[in-house]
Amino acid sequence: MLRYIIRRLLLVIPVFIGVSLIAFLIMKLTPGDPILNVLGMQPTGDPSFIAAMRAELGLDDPIYIQYGKFLWRILQGDLGRSIGSNKPVIILVSEALPRTLLLVVSSMIVAIAIGIPVGVVSSVRQHSALDHATRVGSIFAASLPDFWLGLMLMMVFSYYLGLTPISGYGKPEHIILPATTLGIGLAGLITRLTRSSMLEVIRQDYIRAAKAKGMSERGVIFKHALRNALIPIVTVLGLQFGFLLAGAFFVEWVFAWPGIGRLAVQAIQQRDYPVVLGALLVTSIAYVVINIIVDIIYAYIDPRVQYE
């Protein structure tokens, strides 16, 4: 097991180098001069000041030196400074990342709270009208664009009904709409998975045996069927983490949630590329780390996973 974990961790190195290289190249190739952007798009500033600023930001070095310096710096946790606000990127990103993770985890809770019960009921009442409605509803939920759904929920619940704040951050009620928006698509997926996984499990012999010995239907479903049906759902939750992170970029933008997505989109619009770079890099690293954790958890849950 330890060897499996070490091997899995070693695989991160090439992925990390690749991800950092892609992130670096993306921003290096961005058109537009970041210095001129900071100075308000006026190429009339004092040339010596501009040159000094370029040198200070390392924009004059050859590109491979810039990448080498960049890689060395990020290994030390230094992601540079924001060109716009002059704050260290690591501070901006480390302020924003927990908020994004809070949003993503809350959306997972929403998705589980809706998806698992609905999926269980749908599988137990297979071929009923409820089952058909659930199947269509879940695929519909998974097809809704996050950014549009967010605007619709905002319009109905914040503007017309006045139940939730329109946008922002700080109070517990601020998270309700963003988390619901981000979670609904995943809820659709979990509903479908729970249903199909349950349908597979309830045909097994041990379920029949549990029923034959006189166990109640509720007991069979919750003690035996659901517990075994949960294994694939855990995996999918882990795999969906990356999609939720990407979705969070849009949802944060809609609800002005000050997470890493909003930080990145604002930075892209201001061509503040140390921030864009930092945000994309940290998001990707978070994604890779979560995937490893899921792999390891999965290896614990399911003894059939091979360690070698």
Binding site: G18, I139, D146, G247
Partner: protein, 293 residues
């Protein structure tokens, strides 16, 4: 009727794979609904010039933000343009992006996946590690970064989406090929002296397309959603070209005063994605022999 039936029998056989799939799809109502919406979308995009009631870029500032009426069933936007016409023309953008992105991803993914799976060795190792790196990056985020680099245009959106999308296809093609190349009929072809290229082109690839068709159909929905998302963030199609995502984005500023601008294009977008998902799901069921019993 008879000659047509005979022709069908001649072409597809009594119980050929294709006829079984068609029969299966006929009884799958959600998939048929999806197909109907897809056909409608295609017709809308192809005949936009004929069915669009107004010029999508014709402004009338005196009647901006007008709600839906008989004259303008979907209302007018912030420049007084007819939203129905903009949605009709927007379908061209959505479908073009979908088709181009999926075609490029398929071409790259199939070529690299086939090489990787069939030749193996270090080529396999390199291609799959590169694919891993791409898959380690949440696709849409990479696309956001790439469109920021490449500049904001529809071509760059398509390029960015294709770049992030090919590794999925390469993976599937590779695993299919690894499975198929071990089967007896491939071995038989090899013994009969067929070259690698011939075996790959006429035996292995045609038999690995079933999962790819499903992936491509669902991928169309993803590409349409991704284009709309990028345009929503202002990274995609630039004004005044109508795109569903950018109509929703501009409507956002008027969401409480003129909710129709955001609501209606969003419904059209969601329906289109739903259609591709439903049809893709139906195809998956129809192509999976285990579900046919």
């Amino acid at each position: 009727m008879r000659p047509l039936k005979d022709l069908k029998k001649l072409l597809f056989g009594e119980s050929s794979e294709l006829s079984i799939i068609i029969e299966h799809l006929k009884s799958d109502k959600p998939a048929l609904f999806g197909l109907a919406v897809i056909i409608l979308l295609v017709l809308m995009a192809v005949f936009a010039d004929f069915i669009s009631p107004y010029d999508p870029n014709l402004q009338d500032l005196s009647r901006r933000l007008e709600p839906p009426s008989w004259e303008h069933p979907f209302g007018r936007d912030e420049f007084g343009r007819d939203i129905l016409s903009r949605i009709i023309y927007g379908s061209r953008i959505s479908l073009t992006v979908g088709v181009v992105v999926i075609t490029i991803s398929l071409l790259i993914g199939t070529a690299l996946g086939a090489l990787s799976g069939y030749i193996g060795g270090w080529i396999d190792l390199v291609i799959m590690r590169v694919a891993d790196i791409f898959l380690a990056f949440p696709g849409l985020l990479l696309a956001i970064g790439l469109t920021a680099v490449l500049g904001q245009s529809i071509f760059n959106v398509m390029a960015a989406l294709a770049i992030v999308n090919w590794p999925g296809y390469a993976r599937v093609i590779r695993s299919q090929i690894l499975y198929i190349k071990g089967l007896d009929y491939v071995e038989a072809a090899r013994i009969m002296g067929a070259s690698n290229a011939r075996i790959l082109a006429s035996h292995v690839l045609p038999n690995s397309f079933a999962p790819i068709i499903v992936l491509a159909t669902i991928g169309m929905g993803w590409a349409i959603l991704a284009e709309a998302g990028l345009s929503f963030l202002g990274l995609g199609v630039q004004p005044p070209t109508p795109s569903w995502g950018s109509i929703i984005a501009t409507g956002r500023d008027f969401i409480f005063r003129a909710p129709h601008i955001t609501t209606i294009p969003g419904i059209v977008l969601a329906l289109s994605i739903l259609a591709f998902n439903l049809f893709g799901d139906g195809l998956r069921d129809a192509l999976d022999p285990r579900l046919r019993i």
